[in-house]
Amino acid sequence: MVDRYLEDGIIEGRLDDDAYEQNFADAYPPLDKHEALVAADRCYFCYDAPCVTACPTAIDIPKFIRQISTGNVDGSARTIFEQNILGGMCARVCPTETLCEQACVRETAEGKPVQIGLLQRHATDHAMRNDRQYFARAEDTGKSIAVVGAGPAGLACAHRLAMKGHKVVLYDANPKAGGLNEYGIATYKSVDQFAQHEVDYVTSIGGIEIVNDSRLGEQLSIDGLLKQHDAVFLGIGLGGVNALGVEGDGDEAVASAVDFIADLRQADRFAKVPVGRRVLVIGGGMTAIDVATQARLLGAQDVTIAYRRGRENMNASHVEQNQSSSKGVNIRHWMMPAEVTKTSSGALEVKMEFTELSGGKLKGTGKFQTIEVDQLFTAIGQTLASGDAIGSIAVEGGRISVDDEFRTSNPSVWAGGDCVAAGEDLTVTAVAQGRDAAESIHAALSA
């Protein structure tokens, strides 16, 4: 342990390089061939399998597992990619414990589901490592579609449109494509630049042009796009973050968890990412877990997540919570921030109010505790960025309103992923929506 571990303040290089290396290694290492065969053997090849029903992209899981067990790993990858071209990332980041693996009959039977996520990774890693391409573009249709946002929804949409023979221009506000896969996933879930490899793999089907640094409302407008393209798909995510809305939340030591996660992903060296000795994270979702866990891994000595409700109300799955706790994160419930003040030494004093349910409504108890920290992260939800220039497109509950084919109120504009008011905010849901929107766009343009 190096000396800087115990220093107060938000500083770089709390750990030595070996410790960083170890801390940010692959969180769930891949199965080798033998492990995959043993894991695959446990699948019962269920009829109308509950795991498939639980998968937002409806991958034929019993089939791909059976293909692994018969030595047809290529066929297995094809089965996965047919439904989910981002099956590689989903295998890494899906909360399988609340999706396919929760539904697995062996979870019912033995409390130990088939390791579906790791098996999916085994097959997709094989395909991507060997650059196996299973899909080819159909004959060019002469149609062009603007896909705005190169995250999971946009990539899935672009790939499916390319398969259908359409030309796609994939615009993204950031310097790199990938969206949250590139900027929003905890580092240890996507090691070795996997997000960029996946972008390359998906776009290698051809017919997809990526245009970076182009933001809707700045370089791009829907009207402008519709002049150049036959249709538009919006996969713009949620660009804005919610503020705490308490006194003192504007301090520079109060940071957005989303930005921190993105900066960490883009950092050349972990030693160059500053972090506090004492860190408090406000929130209860995956973002809160990811930022808290990574703060610990960067060398923060004392990391607490504070959530205003109980454990059972947290959006982060139990597996995520346990992963975080196992790294030394302290998760506290039933408290919310009331005020943030700066001490003379530069630390933050966060006055937390204990909460309770009263008549089904959450309210403060009037009792407080002050927590002194170096750094405060907010992870209390994201919003459709203001001024996203979606124009007159209808919105509900702060997100773009879509029908069951992901058509917006503008007949030439479709949308999917976190920016729409449908489904959970998961990579796999975004992929399903992008894919299905592409089918709808194709049907509309073919009519």
Binding site: L37, R42, Y44, F45, C46, Y47, D48, A109
Partner: protein
């Protein structure tokens, strides 16, 4: 504690588990390890005349596997012992002296000429081993030279060679039968006619276990070629049980002692062989898969079951299931069962449904009131048992008997109380009733 001591044609062993003539009994080192582990006896790997045969230098075995790569069937192209006769004889003598309480039987295979048998039997007798087993079974390598299965497939040869053996030794003679025939009763009768003290079966089954799809050749593959081998292991147990029962039920051979061989892996397998008429059992593949230590489970499991079921010794279970083996036409066609699915233990995999729906009688639901639920439809269920066999949870699905007098919803008739079989069934053109 149940008494497992075994007396097989006068050969005594502390338990009924012998290692079969095979690689595990090829030499003193292995056999001593087996005896130390607790095996009741061994049949020494088959001796032949010098010059001794040679084995292939490449792979000798192939296999099929179940889930988790459990070995279910083993195929081998190894021949009889590839060591000089003298070496084997000396070791047999030494082992028998050191282990007088264990059964030690020597397996033999020499050409079909009486002097050959006379010569080797005299030498084997000098070892003071307990008996000989005539290997009329090996389906590969030796049969092409007129030995092994080539003898076992011709009842007249079996009788002739058995008679020579009996004429040239005072030792008990066990005749090992090949399953590579159409009706095992004929070779068994021939062995008896030749004076055999016992038969042992089954030897391995002719087989090609798999094909190497890169080399386009059977496995095990020797320099690009393969050949049929002898198949054994858990996969062959049902075939062996049927053959053992056939001999035990045949009035002509019902009294000949049988040493049961074929896929014995657990104490339960052994108990099944013994209840179908085997006087003891021989084991090979299970030992080759797991090592000699399995004898502990075999012995303790058999004792535990016999104690629980109230069987004092092996005689009290020997042949007990034989009277209940019958021909299909004597099965009671009025006996009616329906599958029952215990919803508490059902894990909702749906395998029973799809097996029944796709391949059988459409008698299991997959949805009830829009919920995933698997229930038997009595109006369709023929009681076939397929659902029980494909269900991954033991005892989740059971076959319940419909009592006589109750309605069988499939036929719309009450279940008859009387016994009724095919021989008297009105649909049988040859039935007594139709006359």
């Amino acid at each position: 504690m149940a008494d497992l001591r075994n007396d097989f044609v006068g050969i005594k062993s502390p338990n009924p588990f012998w290692l079969a003539s095979a690689p595990p009994t090829d030499k003193e080192y292995n056999v001593v390890r087996a005896f130390k582990a607790g095996w009741g006896g061994v049949v020494w790997k088959t001796l032949g005349l010098d010059p001794h045969i040679v084995n292939v230098g490449g792979p000798r075995y192939g296999a099929i596997w179940g889930a988790d790569r459990r070995l279910l069937g083993l195929n081998n192209i190894e021949l009889i012992t590839d060591r000089p006769l003298d070496v084997n004889l000396q070791e047999i003598k030494s082992v028998k002296r050191a282990w007088p309480d264990r059964a030690l039987v020597t397996s033999l295979m020499v050409p079909c000429e009486e002097p050959c048998w006379e010569d080797i039997l005299r030498q084997v007798e000098d070892t003071e081993c307990d008996g000989v087993e005539l290997n009329f079974g090996c389906p590969h390598g030796m049969s092409e030279r007129g030995m092994g299965a080539a003898v076992g497939q011709v009842p007249e040869y079996i009788e002739m060679v058995t008679r020579w053996a009996k004429a040239n030794t005072r030792m008990p003679v066990i005749v090992k039968l090949t399953p590579n025939i159409t009706d095992v009763r004929y070779p068994a009768r021939a062995a008896k006619a030749g004076g055999a003290d016992a038969v042992s079966l089954i030897n391995t089954i002719s087989s090609i276990v798999s094909v190497d799809l890169d080399q386009m050749a059977p496995q095990p593959t020797i320099d690009g070629k393969g050949t049929h081998g002898g198949y054994c292991g858990p996969a062959v147990k049902p075939i062996a049980l049927n053959m053992v029962a056939s001999i035990a039920r045949d009035p002509e051979t019902a009294d000949i002692p049988i040493s049961g061989i074929g896929g014995v892996t657990t104490w339960r397998d052994a108990a099944e062989f013994i209840t179908l008429g085997a006087g003891n059992v021989q084991v090979c593949t299970a030992a080759m898969t797991y090592g000699f230590k399995i004898i502990e489970e075999l012995v303790e499991g058999l004792e535990q079951w016999m104690d629980t079921a109230g069987h004092a010794n092996l005689d009290s279970i020997h042949g007990r299931a034989v009277p209940n083996v019958t021909e299909w036409q004597y099965l009671n066609l009025n006996y009616t069962t329906k599958a029952r699915i215990d919803q508490d233990s059902c894990i909702k995999c749906g395998r029973c449904h799809i097996a029944c729906e796709d391949t059988s009688h459409q008698a299991i639901t997959n949805l009830v009131d829009g919920e995933r639920r698997f229930e038997v439809i009595d109006e369709e269920c023929v009681g076939c048992n397929l659902c029980v066999n494909v269900c991954p949870v033991e005892n989740c699905i059971t076959m319940d008997q419909i009592p006589a007098g109750d309605l069988d919803k499939r036929t719309g008739q009450d279940v008859p109380s009387e016994y009724g079989n095919w021989t008297t069934h009105p649909n049988n053109p040859m039935s007594d009733a139709a006359e």
